[in-house]
């Protein structure tokens, strides 16, 4: 697991879900007409190895106060990357606890479960939730529309 910090909270993500960790260098503000308003957490794009990554602000994703991001996690097998404050450590966890059913709101999609690290509870994020299917569809449709306008 890779442990990272956002807004003073620790989160863990499966190391296999992360392709690369890099600085914020090369981020371009995301200003695709209409989509920025629909997916407010989408802040930047990043061109890397011929691919375009859509960079999600983790603080906005988790509905936290604006944070001080300094690192970008590029996700594997996904067009998403995640803006986080800093990296904490890489570690193994022995057990993934299910999120208690008492939690009933958006967090059920945000997290795969909870890990206990030296007595501290760390949520393990669901990396597929940073840009979910509906949001990817909005992006795809928006990009097609923009391409159509350019062709015309």
């Amino acid at each position: 697991m890779i442990v990272f910090l956002v807004g003073g909270f620790r989160f863990a993500i499966s190391a296999g879900a992360v392709k690369e960790i890099r600085s914020m260098e090369g981020l371009q503000p995301f200003t695709l007409g209409g989509i920025s308003a629909q997916i407010a957490k989408l802040r930047y794009t990043l061109e890397r190895g011929g691919a375009t990554y859509f960079v999600v602000d983790a603080a906005q994703h988790f509905q936290l106060l604006p944070a001080q991001p300094s690192r970008v996690l590029i996700l594997r097998n996904s067009p998403a990357a995640v803006l986080v404050d800093s990296m904490d450590r890489i570690m193994e966890i022995s057990a993934l606890h299910a999120l208690p059913r008492a939690f009933t709101q958006e967090e059920r999609g945000w997290y795969r479960g909870l890990a206990v690290v030296n007595g501290a509870v760390v949520p393990v994020v669901n990396h597929n939730a940073f840009l979910n299917k509906a949001e990817l569809e909005i992006l795809r449709a928006g990009l097609e529309r923009v391409r159509g306008e350019v062709m015309a």
């Binding site: 008492a102 909870l114 509870v121």
Partner: protein, 142 residues
């Protein structure tokens, strides 16, 4: 007044008022422990406790039962709560020591919220019996 029979209740204080949970759902009264928090959007949940390797959600029912002016919570009453046909431990912060009691029922007035399932007549005091599942599910509604 109807007798509550052999049924026992755990009476817990929230400020100046006391409430009751059926004793059979209560597993322990825990000393103050560090509540651990992480981002979430579920109302009333203030975090989780780690108890004997298990993760127990902390549900601060005082906000609903006595309002925001409840004094600091000192202990955690840990109770079994049924969710989606499964039992799950839930920690309820309380403001003082608890008491195990049996008492006759007092008649419901009809004005109680639906999560109050009965009243216990404890001398001059009437103690509301709380159905934790109903209270939590009502507050979790968007």
């Amino acid at each position: 007044m109807t007798a509550s029979g052999d049924k026992s209740y755990v009476l817990f204080p929230l400020g100046k008022k006391r409430f009751a949970l059926p004793a059979e759902v209560v597993t322990e009264l825990a000393r103050p422990d560090s509540v651990q928090t992480f981002p979430h959007r579920t109302p009333m949940l203030s975090g989780v406790l780690v108890r004997r390797g298990r993760i127990v959600p902390v549900c601060d029912v005082a906000q609903v039962l006595v309002g925001p002016a409840a004094p600091p919570r000192k202990f955690y009453l840990i109770a079994n709560c049924k969710r989606e046909s499964r039992q799950e431990l839930t920690a309820v912060p309380v403001t003082g020591e608890c008491e195990l009691a049996s008492a006759p029922f007092a008649p419901l007035t009809g004005r109680e919220p639906h999560y109050i399932t009965g009243l216990l007549a404890m001398g001059d005091e009437t103690v509301e019996i709380v159905a934790l599942e109903k209270l939590i599910s009502a507050e979790a509604m968007p």
